[in-house]
Symmetry: C2
Subunit: 329 residues, 2 copies
C-alpha cells in the first residue's frame, strides 16, 4: 500500500514531517510505502542530516504551499502545485491509497470534496478525533469539517463514527451517544431533538444522549455532534490539558519541596502525559469521502506523524470506506 505524506504542512515543516516518515518506516509493524510530497531539496537535507540515503522515499516535487491562514476553498482552486492538491489528485487516480497532512484543515476538506467527492449516502464529511477518557477514550465527530449541520448529517456521522470506532478502538459494537444538554430524549435544540429521533433508528448501538461531562467518563465509544460544537469542544479540551500542566508548573514547581516532589513522581507524570497525549493516537480521519484522508494537528511532532501514518494503514486494512458505503449507500 502506497501512502502520500505532505511534508510541507504543519507548524514545523519538513524536518519534523520527514523524521515522522522515517520513524514510521522503522517502527511500524507493516509500514506503508510512503511517497513524500514537497520541495525535494528540503526533504533531502533532512534525510542527509538523519544519515539516510537521499532516495529513501519516493518524492513528488511540489512548488507551492497552502499556509495555515489562507481561505481554504479559494487556495485549493488556485494553487494546484501544492502537496495537498497533488496528493488528492493521486488518490483519485489510484496512484496512492490515501494522504496524511498536518496542513490547513479547511484546505484538506475542500480538496477532498473537490477531488474525491462524497461517498454514496453521505451528505457531509466529518472529522473524527480521539478523546482521552476512562477506558480507551472515545471518538468524537464532527470536530470541524462543518459549521452548520442538519439532523440527517448527525445520523450519518453516527453510522460513520461507529464503523471507524470498530477500527480505531477495536470494539465489536461501539456504543454511540449523541452529545446533548440532558439525558432525556426530548432535550436540546431542535437540531438535536430531531437527530436523536433519527439515530434511534440507525444501524448502530445508539445509547441516547450523553452530556459534556460524559466525554471523559467513557460512557460512549462514539460521540456525535455538529461540527461547530465539536470544534469548540476539541479546542477547549486540548487547551485545558495545557492549562492544567502550566498551572501545575506554576503552583508546584515554584517551591523547592514541590520540585523535589515532582522529581520523585517524574516517571508517573510522564506516563500520565502519554496517556492523555493526542500525539499518541495520531491524526483524525476525514470520514465520508472517497479515499483515506488523515488530518494531523498542525503542532504535530514526529511521533504524531508516525501514528497518523499507522492510522491511515489501519483505516485501509479495516475497509472502513467499503463498510460505510454498504450501510449508507
Amino acid at each position: 500500500m502506497k501512502l502520500a505524506l505532505d511534508v510541507m504542512g504543519g507548524d514545523h515543516g519538513p524536518p519534523v514531517l520527514v523524521r515522522g516518515a522515517l520513524r514510521a518506516r522503522r517502527e511500524l509493524e507493516r509500514p506503508p510505502e510512503l511517497v513524500l510530497y514537497g520541495v525535494p531539496e528540503a526533504i533531502r537535507s533532512v534525510l542527509a542530516a538523519e544519515g539516510e540515503p537521499a532516495d529513501r522515499f519516493e518524492i513528488v516535487p511540489t512548488t507551492e504551499n497552502i499556509t495555515m491562514h489562507e481561505p481554504p476553498a479559494q487556495a485549493v482552486r488556485k494553487k494546484k502545485d501544492t502537496p495537498i492538491v497533488r496528493a488528492m489528485g493521486d488518490v483519485r487516480a489510484g496512484a496512492v491509497a490515501g494522504v496524511v497532512s498536518a496542513g490547513n484543515t479547511g484546505a484538506m476538506v475542500s480538496a477532498a470534496m473537490l477531488y474525491l467527492g462524497r461517498l454514496a449516502g453521505v451528505q457531509r464529511p466529518a472529522i473524527a478525533t480521539w478523546f482521552p477518557g476512562r477506558g480507551d477514550g472515545s471518538i468524537v465527530l464532527d470536530v470541524g469539517a462543518n459549521a452548520d449541520n442538519k439532523p440527517e448529517h448527525l445520523f450519518q456521522f453516527g453510522v460513520m463514527g461507529s464503523l471507524f470506532a470498530e477500527a480505531a478502538l477495536q470494539r465489536a459494537r461501539p456504543r454511540v451517544g449523541l452529545l446533548n444538554i440532558g439525558e432525556e430524549s426530548g432535550k436540546g435544540s431542535e437540531l438535536y431533538v430531531r437527530a436523536h429521533a433519527l439515530l434511534a433508528e440507525a444501524p448502530v448501538d445508539f445509547i441516547g444522549n450523553v452530556e459534556g461531562r460524559d466525554i471523559f467518563r467513557g460512557k460512549a465509544d462514539v460521540i456525535v455532534c455538529d461540527g461547530f460544537t465539536g470544534n469548540v469542544v476539541l479546542k477547549l479540551a486540548e487547551s485545558m490539558i495545557g492549562f492544567m500542566v502550566s498551572r501545575f508548573r506554576e503552583s508546584v514547581l515554584a517551591s523547592l519541596r514541590g520540585k523535589l516532589g515532582a522529581l520523585l513522581m517524574r516517571r508517573d507524570l510522564l506516563r500520565m502525559r502519554k496517556d492523555l497525549y493526542y500525539a499518541e493516537h495520531g491524526g483524525a480521519p476525514l470520514l465520508g469521502v472517497k479515499g483515506c484522508v488523515i488530518i494531523s494537528h498542525g503542532a504535530s511532532n514526529d511521533l504524531a506523524i508516525r501514528n497518523a501514518i499507522r492510522m491511515a494503514a489501519r483505516f485501509q486494512e479495516l475497509r472502513t470506506i467499503e463498510k460505510t458505503e454498504s450501510l449508507l449507500g
Copy 2:
C-alpha cells in the same frame, strides 16, 4: 438586605445548605439577612447539631420540593409550595431581594420567567458562570438557560455579560469575545456570523471571535455563546478537571515514590485545586430577569453556598439589574 435561600435543593439537602448559611453569616464581611425556605424540622435539626439556636434564621416553611429530574416548567406550575416557587413569589412581592438555590436549574429558570419576568430589552435570560483561566478567569454565558438561540439573544448576552463581569471580575471595561470556530469575522455557523455583526455594534468592548482554546487563556473577560454550546462546554470543563485529578491519583499515587512526591507538594496542590475550584466562585446568576437569581451547582458544598450568597450580595450592591435596563431597555 434580605435574601432567600432554598435549603431543600441540591444533591446534599438541608445539612450542607444550612451549614452554608451559617458560614455566610459568620464569614462574610457584610452578610445579607438570610431567610431559609424549606422543612422547618430539617432546618432545626441541622441548627441543633451545629450548636446554634433554633431561631438563628427566619424560616419560610414549605411542604413540597422539585427534584432534579422533574420536567421543570410543569413542576413549577403544579408544585406551588416549594422553596423555589415561594421564594420567587417573595422576590416579586419585594419581601426578599433575591434567591439562591442549588436545586433544579430548569425550575429556577421557569419560575424566574413566570414570577419575575424579563427585563425590558431582554428576549432571553442567560446563566453566566465563571471559568478558571490565565489571570482572573472569565465569565461564560449562556451555559444552559436556552437550548436554541437567535443572533439578537447573543447580542443581549454580550451586554448583560459585560455588566456582570464588571461586578464579578471587578474590571472597568471587560473584553467581550464571541465563542467561535475561527478568529476571522466570517467564521462559524449562520447564527454566529450574524451575532458577530450585531456584537460589533454593541455598547461593549467587543474583541471579536475567540476559540475553544482561548477559554483558559484569558483572552476575553466575557465569552458569549448559545446555551447549547455553553452547557456542553461547562459540563466538559467541570468533568475534565475531575478526570485529570483522578488520572493523577491513579498514575502517581500508585507508586511509593509518587506518594512521597505528592506528600512533598501537598500544599501547592491544594492551592492549585483552590484556584481551579468552582466552589470558590459561588453560584451562577440568571441574568436578564427582574430580580437577583443565583443558581448553585447541585453538588455544592457549604463553601460554595457561602460564596453564592456572597455573589448575590455583590450583585445587588453593584446594581447589575438597573444598569442592564438602562443599556438594553
